[in-house]
């Protein structure tokens, strides 16, 4: 069965339809459409229509709508007639029997316009079956386009655009409103939250984690706006995806009211777990660390990094910082030795340096950093390095200097052909 139609004469329509009722219905039906004339549709494709209808009726009853009726059929028109015209609370139309089911009902079950209904009554056509038995050409000539559409519905040939998009292999959920457009961001977020719950539950059941999701807004001006949401690490957690959705919604401005929202998974990965030693203290806390790193990456970008070093002669160009991944294996250093570490300024800083001659070069004897002069008691160098260029013999002359206060600093000067400035590159600590 393809469609479940719920109808109740007492529940509010349009903008007053309870959003939490829609959210509760989404727990059972993957796609829900709130239609006109007190109708609510559920997509039963791939599901047991009768069971789905029972669940939806129970949800409606929990919200106080005990008078709700449900119809289940292959076509929307048959499901609608079953829900609105039958005295039984749940009617399931047999497979392939939609036209025969509709036939005995009066024409008003198809909701024709008053003019068309009067015209058909005048012609002596009172039931759907009688209308369906007529010739298409005759209907078109006598009753026009509207008559043809009514005739098609009488034959259970329903072309209404309900859940017509092809079923995707990846989880998705959607909500549509036919009669009104949603403008309240809080209600929109509430509905998206329920969509995310459905999608994430499906992911967990399938043993998958989503890497990317798409949020599709169907707008009142008959356009669609798609916003792709990516997580730094694959996840099936509703909380994480909702946080990303909230951040995305803060940046989105929609030109018109929202008539429908779809949340669909665009790409997934398997849910493989990390293998490890239960007696390893680090293994027990690995998921918590992974979550913290994911949160950090979502908030600040790729800040948890590891260096990828090349053989470039200039130290500040030697390192490329790559995002750390959990799957990259790295050696464990079992015997760390204690040694002063070189700390580099993000970019070399120009300083004023006083020098004195020593053999064939100049050595720094003091330098100005900020507003303070620092005397240098020892200067080892020059260590000349190339810059990967062939225009001069060397690019920089480095000096390892010890200040009067004991701090070791790294100064350099460009080659004479390039610049005569002195730079402070870093220090040892």
């Amino acid at each position: 069965m393809s469609y479940v139609c719920l109808w109740s004469p007492s529940w509010p329509t349009g903008a007053d339809f309870p959003a939490d009722l829609v959210a509760s219905l989404l727990l059972h039906a993957p796609r829900v459409a709130v239609g006109e004339r007190n109708l609510v549709w559920g997509d039963a494709r791939g599901l047991h229509g009768g069971q789905l209808a029972e669940h939806m009726l129970r949800v409606a009853g929990d919200y106080g709508f005990e008078d709700a009726h449900a119809g289940v059929a292959m076509t929307p028109v048959a499901a609608e007639v079953a829900a609105t015209q039958s005295t039984t609370q749940l009617v399931v139309v047999k497979l392939g029997q939609d036209r025969q089911f509709i036939a005995p009902y009066a024409l008003h079950a198809l909701s024709p316009s008053d003019e068309l209904a009067a015209l058909l009554t005048g012609l002596g056509i009172e039931t759907c079956g009688a209308l369906a038995n007529l010739d298409a050409e005759a209907i078109e000539v006598r009753l026009g386009l509207e008559g043809v559409r009514l005739w098609q519905r009488a034959r259970a040939d329903d072309e209404r655009w309900l859940f017509k998009l092809p079923l995707r292999s990846l989880p998705s959920a959607s909500v549509e409103w036919v009669e009104y457009g949603l403008k309240d961001p809080e209600r929109l977020l509430f509905v998206i939250n329920s969509l995310a719950g459905t999608v994430c539950t499906s992911l967990i059941e399938r043993g998958e984690r989503a890497r990317e999701m798409a949020l599709v807004f169907s707008l009142g001006n008959r356009t669609q706006r798609t916003h792709v949401i990516r997580s730094s690490r694959p996840s099936a957690e509703q909380k994480r995806w909702m946080r990303l959705v909230r951040e995305a919604l803060d940046t989105i401005t929609l030109p018109d009211a929202v008539m429908g929202v779809t949340l669909r998974v665009e790409s997934v990965t398997g849910n493989g777990g990390a293998q490890g030693d239960l007696f390893d203290r680090g293994f027990a806390s690995a998921p918590a660390v992974e979550d913290a790193v994911i949160q950090l990456t979502d908030d600040q970008g790729d800040v948890v990094v590891m260096p990828e070093n090349s053989a470039h002669p200039l130290l500040e160009q030697r390192t490329k910082w790559m995002a750390r991944t959990s799957r990259t294996s790295r050696p464990t250093i079992h015997d760390p030795h204690l040694a002063l570490t070189l700390q580099l300024l993000p970019s070399p800083k120009v300083v004023t340096v006083d020098t004195e001659s020593r053999r064939d070069h100049e050595v720094p004897v003091r330098y100005l950093d900020g507003n303070e002069w620092h005397d240098i008691v020892e200067a080892a160098g020059p260590d000349r390095v190339s810059g990967g260029q062939w225009s001069s013999a060397y690019a920089r002359e480095y000096f390892r200097c010890v200040r009067e206060d004991g701090m070791m600093v790294w100064l350099f000067r460009g080659s004479q052909q390039q610049t005569k400035d002195w730079f402070l590159h870093g220090w040892w600590d």
Partner: protein
């Protein structure tokens, strides 16, 4: 400190506080994160950095070297450590990439503090070093609380200053002038 000085200091403490209970040799009040440097662990209270507490380390004088070695020592013991490089001064070419050692390079001081809080609260780290992003005022309280919740030892190193203060641990920071000799041209 020399042995006679320690003995005289102990005698003075016992005289001033006759009811005080010595911590060493008895049950420890907090678990510690050992630095792995024997001489330093003997000097530090309880043999290392206290878990769930904030320790502040003045920059220079070998602070970075000692704390880097501590991070590796923690990893060698099967735990995790993290280094938050608040002023982006870590030289990648000399960074010893280790499996349990996480390096974070945030964009600003505030981002560094947030990263520290996030990692501390996860409870998966035994040691977190916050370099170049000193917490101030209520930020200190917040980070200390996060360290207590996560059970990690939090060390804060100040930014590189133009002053010439030595590190708080004199034995690790001293650089003898005679150790550096200018290279002789051959």
């Amino acid at each position: 400190m020399s042995r006679p000085s320690i003995a005289s200091l102990r005698a003075l403490i016992e005289q001033r506080f006759p009811d005080a209970t010595p911590l060493t040799g008895g049950s420890q009040t907090t678990e510690q994160v050992a630095t792995g440097i024997g001489a330093l662990d003997r000097v530090l209270p309880n043999g290392g950095f206290a878990r769930g507490r904030l320790s502040v380390w003045a920059p220079q004088g070998g602070a970075t070297a000692i704390l880097r070695a501590t991070c590796h020592s923690v990893v060698a013991n099967g735990e995790r450590s993290a280094w938050i490089d608040g002023d982006n001064t870590v030289a990648g070419a000399f960074w010893s990439d280790d499996h349990g050692l996480y390096l974070v390079r945030p964009k600003s001081r505030i981002h560094a503090l947030r990263a520290a809080e996030e990692l501390l609260r996860s409870g998966g780290f035994s040691l977190l070093v916050l370099a170049g992003a000193e917490p101030q005022g209520t930020e200190t309280v917040r980070l200390t609380r996060a360290a207590r919740e996560g059970g990690a030892a939090l060390i804060s190193i100040g930014s590189r200053a133009s002053d010439s203060r030595h590190g708080c641990c004199a034995m690790a920071g001293a650089v003898r002038r005679s150790a550096i000799r200018p290279k002789r041209r051959t």
